[in-house]
Symmetry: C2
Subunit: 206 residues, 2 copies
DNA sequence: CTTGACAGCTAATTTGAATTAGCCTATAAT
DNA sequence: ATTATAGGCTAATTCAAATTAGCTGTCAAG
């Protein structure tokens, strides 16, 4: 009875691995355990399946945004002038964000699919940019802004700090999308990055 | 007489915009000014055209690497203990690299094509990673290593510095691939990034 | 001048993938 | 019990795109 949903999952998996154009409806059916024509009892075309994935995604958007923003540590709430944000907490947050992005099946597949379709039309490029660039940057910018205001970090442009904090994470993430076997290496680099970042900006060092 | 070459150019352009699977040989022919069947006088299949692009690319590799590495400023040679690498030089180098990657027609198209085909097989993912991750990081790592040794920058892990310097550039580049209209904004951020990076690591500030 | 090979064309041909038609079964509501 | 609907299947159908066949004109080498 959840065939409709299972089709979406199977299709997302395939689209994220091979790209929309290289996936045949037969494969989707096979992955679900039905024949190709039966798909049409649930969706009126291949394109329709793709659209449904996008729609579903837009629904999950809030959930995603939440997860993205406050992953694990609730930095944004308790970050008054008092509570110290230790280096370890920053590391935990960075690694947590990275691991979530890399291992959450849905998030990961969706990102890969969007990567492959990003130049297809304006809607998709906008979506990609919002999800993986603007939104994270804007959230972290706000966070660093607070940390600076709270006197925990040196007074520097928060947007730039966000870029410097997030871009390495992003790059390592896309690296691991291509080469999962390099995750360990990436994690090590990421942690080093965050500690060095913290060292460079932390008040106590200046 | 250079039809063979013109086919490659047209195909690369199309592949980089729509992805291999969504380009029809008819379009390639049209772009060149001949009919589809005539393409087969030059290449034995569509796949063969794609392979030829890859081959050509591998040839140009040295050229690319050079351009990538010493773009404009010849930092790597004159960076003895004496010659100061001013912040402005670093900015010039970063912006130069960025602009080259973004505006050189061949480089740009090739990157976009690889972006769209990166999960297709291992060869392509390796190529992407080498070109846009490992190679730049390794070069810049060497550079920062020298700058640290020369006492121009604080003694920190050069690999991490390279990551921190290059990843924002990379992320802004992929952003502009999707949204050319945001180049100005990206350039501004990039320059801020580099100055702030320099501020954070420069010896004189510590 | 004539021959052969190069590079183009039009008109098939092949192939393969999406979609439609039409049939069958189970099950749930009337 | 009957019937309608949901969801599956096999067997067409359609359609588009890659590739092949086979013809033609040009031009350089002999």
């Amino acid at each position: 009875m959840n065939t409709k949903k299972r089709i979406l999952d199977a299709a997302l998996k395939l689209f994220s691995e091979k790209g929309y154009g290289n996936v045949y409806v037969g494969e989707i059916g096979e992955a679900v355990g039905i024949k190709a024509p039966s798909l049409y009892k649930h969706y009126k075309s291949k394109q329709d399946i793709f659209n449904a994935i996008l729609d579903e995604m837009k629904n999950n958007y809030d959930k995603q945004a939440m997860a993205l923003n406050m992953n694990g540590s609730d930095v944004n709430i308790d970050v008054g002038i008092f509570s110290a944000v230790s280096e370890d907490e920053l590391v935990k947050m960075g690694i947590g964000l990275f691991s979530y992005f890399l291992h959450d099946e849905y998030v990961c597949r969706f990102r890969k699919m969007l990567t492959l379709e990003q130049f297809h039309d304006s809607e998709l490029s906008q979506l990609y940019t919002k999800q993986y660039v603007d939104q994270p940057l804007s959230y972290q910018s706000a966070m660093f802004s607070m940390l600076c205001a709270g006197g925990l970090l040196r007074q520097e442009d928060a947007e730039v700090m966000a870029l410097q904090f997030y871009a390495p994470l992003y790059m390592l993430l896309t690296l691991c999308d291509r080469h999962p076997e390099r995750e360990e290496e990436a994690l090590k680099l990421l942690e080093q990055h965050i500690r060095q970042f913290n060292g460079a900006y932390s008040r106590s060092l200046s």
